[in-house]
């Protein structure tokens, strides 16, 4: 099995160190998605980072070297894929803030994307980890959108997550079983 982006090293590290607290949300999600894929539960993958290329060199006929480029503001979300035949789409964010999630983390184009997914009957959400208090939440697009429509605030208070979002438990395997929450939602609908 091919583990992308050094995931294999992380798994080895995990076995040696036992303590997983130091793993980033992205690493946890990538490992969880590999587990889902391996077990044929779901196919969810990370999109490439959007880059604006401004200068390219061709040192030889078939080789292009990008000599100048910039990180673009993302216009979509980090992850998407398929679960039980349904379109899944989400953005994952960490914050060191202990009482609220700053909305500067989500760009206007991403909000448009989230609206589009939601309007077209995709399953869309944010996964937000509050690093300092070791809590990870899944906030559905509709609750996220209704917050920003009804509030002029620049951040979503933790209390809103406690009230509206679903807590994602950290386990040994899969690290973040966020699809368990989606299961509950699919059962209700």
């Amino acid at each position: 099995m091919n583990y992308p982006n050094g995931i294999k090293n992380k798994i080895i590290k995990k076995e040696i160190h036992y303590d997983n607290r130091g793993m980033s949300l992205e690493e946890d999600l990538n490992i969880s998605n590999l587990y889902y894929q391996d077990k044929k539960i779901a196919y969810i993958y990370k999109k490439p980072t959007p880059i604006q290329i401004t200068k390219v060199d061709y040192p030889s006929r078939n080789k292009a070297v990008i000599k100048e480029a910039y990180f673009k503001e993302p216009s979509t979300t980090d992850y998407n894929g398929l679960y039980k035949g349904r379109y899944i789409d989400f953005e994952a964010k960490e914050t060191n803030n202990t009482s609220s999630f700053p909305l500067a983390n989500i760009h206007p184009h991403q909000i448009n994307h989230i609206k589009n997914i939601n309007n077209n009957n995709g399953i869309c959400f944010l996964i937000v980890r509050f690093n300092k208090i070791h809590k990870t939440y899944l906030l559905l697009a509709e609750d996220f959108l209704s917050f920003i429509e009804q509030n002029k605030r620049k951040s979503i208070p933790l209390s809103y997550f406690e009230e509206k979002a679903f807590k994602v438990e950290e386990k040994y395997i899969p690290r973040l079983d966020y699809l368990k929450i989606i299961d509950q939602l699919l059962e209700v609908s």
Copy 2:
């Protein structure tokens, strides 16, 4: 309305020149997808190009300039999105070849991706344009996969497209109404 990647200029050009023969498949698809989005028919978007970044400079605190990077072999497809609540995923390719489509155009990781989408009940296909004979085909993932499983050939002959694929007509608007073909498939299933 915001037209990404200079699409607006292309539309203006189109009105002036009347003849659209010179437009690339990507431009045709981007315009068609904007039409679908505008009319709230579907939400289908292009993924970012995957780049491997090897050197980044930080000339000032908040600004990152990528100084060296390379185009990575794509591990997924060009486009994905939602139509009638279904997950849509496809790769678009042009060829100047008149009798076959060279399989070197599709990377091994992309084939894995196509299999994964297909196995997870997504709607997956290739859109292949034969530039010289002005024909554009939609080939479903299952027919593409069955060809590469049953053949050791390095290209898919045009005759296979004529037999198995669906011809995508070029119209004024939308330029390439490929979802019309998906409609027929959804009706049958």
